[in-house]
Assembly symmetry: C2
Homo-oligomer: 253 residues x 2
Amino acid sequence: MTETVVLKLGGSVITDKSGECAIDHARLREIAAHLAARGAAALVLVHGAGSCGHPEARRYRIGDGLTGENVPGIYETHAAVSRLNAAVVGSLRDAGVEAIGIHPLDLGLAEGGRLVSFETRHIVEMTEHGIVPVLHGDVVMDRLQGSCIVSGDQLVTRLAVELSSRRVGLATDVPGVLQNGSVVPRIDRENVATLDIGGSGKTDVTGGMRGKIMELLELADAGIESHIFHVSKIDRFLDDTGHGGTTIGRDAP
Amino acid sequence: MTETVVLKLGGSVITDKSGECAIDHARLREIAAHLAARGAAALVLVHGAGSCGHPEARRYRIGDGLTGENVPGIYETHAAVSRLNAAVVGSLRDAGVEAIGIHPLDLGLAEGGRLVSFETRHIVEMTEHGIVPVLHGDVVMDRLQGSCIVSGDQLVTRLAVELSSRRVGLATDVPGVLQNGSVVPRIDRENVATLDIGGSGKTDVTGGMRGKIMELLELADAGIESHIFHVSKIDRFLDDTGHGGTTIGRDAP
């Protein structure tokens, strides 16, 4: 199996959170041009929902489970984030990247908000044929509560483990995890409790920065380091030439 | 688990095969109105690709596997049939049916043209919340040949078994399986060899009428009878009041 890079584009990087599904097409074109110029390495992309899906998920309280009345929220939330996915895939294809969108609602099964079934062998097959699968945070059916939100961060964790990825990156609109305005260079289970990390600027239905770090510490437990950096540093992350952000890893030996 | 009906809409029923992705919106509205008026029973819909996907699948020879050059055909074929799926889901939702599209490429894994992995528990979860999942014939990644076409008929078979369905219907643009212009009322493994069944009017990448019957005989082997009838008889099939078409079942005792 080829070494696969899992790269997440934060929802707030590719949408304007103040609007409703306000897609930042210029940013998408820029990212697509960078990825197209590189080619080669097997890549799986994941993106957050940003302002495409979060408003719907909140309005229908779809992450809290199904009550009967809020069932239409599954479609509405899924349709909104699928629009963003189509824009991401479209930008990549326009730039010459052989991208294909994969919707987690179509394949995932969760219990209590965590994925318990998520096929990835077809995703591996795609990367082996030069295809870049593009997944996204999504509403997913949940056997305990009917439905839940599976964040892009949970997907990144799941994919990195299943694909035995060694390079996991999260491109955000901040330079890394911040404490008192400075980037925290490294986070592990030993120092995480001592850090004063707020949520991300605007709270979202997937738990903000703290939720993200907790996901990534689980990944670190599995021996996979991950990197949080500013979106302008994607090339540096891919080249491993210093992204200036935060690395989430296992406790220093 | 609720008793689930699996209903397939033939590709030639909802598209005009002479055009390229010529969707028959009037027919879709008509079918949607019938299904909306019934409500209640758990229902899973599957549709064929018709003129949305077959031309692309043929052009790229995507069903024969991946050669390298034809990789873009995965996206093109999938995008075409996904457009049809969006139209089917849209018609149903406009009529008040809580439909959601599910794309087999997103979840299926095949080997030599047959599905070896296809999660259905989230589909069951959907039906239990009154959602009508709408699947479709699609290109699917294949571990032996890179890619293959999974027909709507193969999906019907798979879903019927996994969902323990007792009512499986295939709505077509003919009154049933025809021999010398007359409907064959019943087909089983005993009489199938004696029948002179041509392919469907126009050959397609999924094997025509003979391929369909072979799929459904496998279903019959698993103890599940299926029914092929004219699309105007959907109500009669659902009510079990005589659709005038063909029943595919086990050998008469």
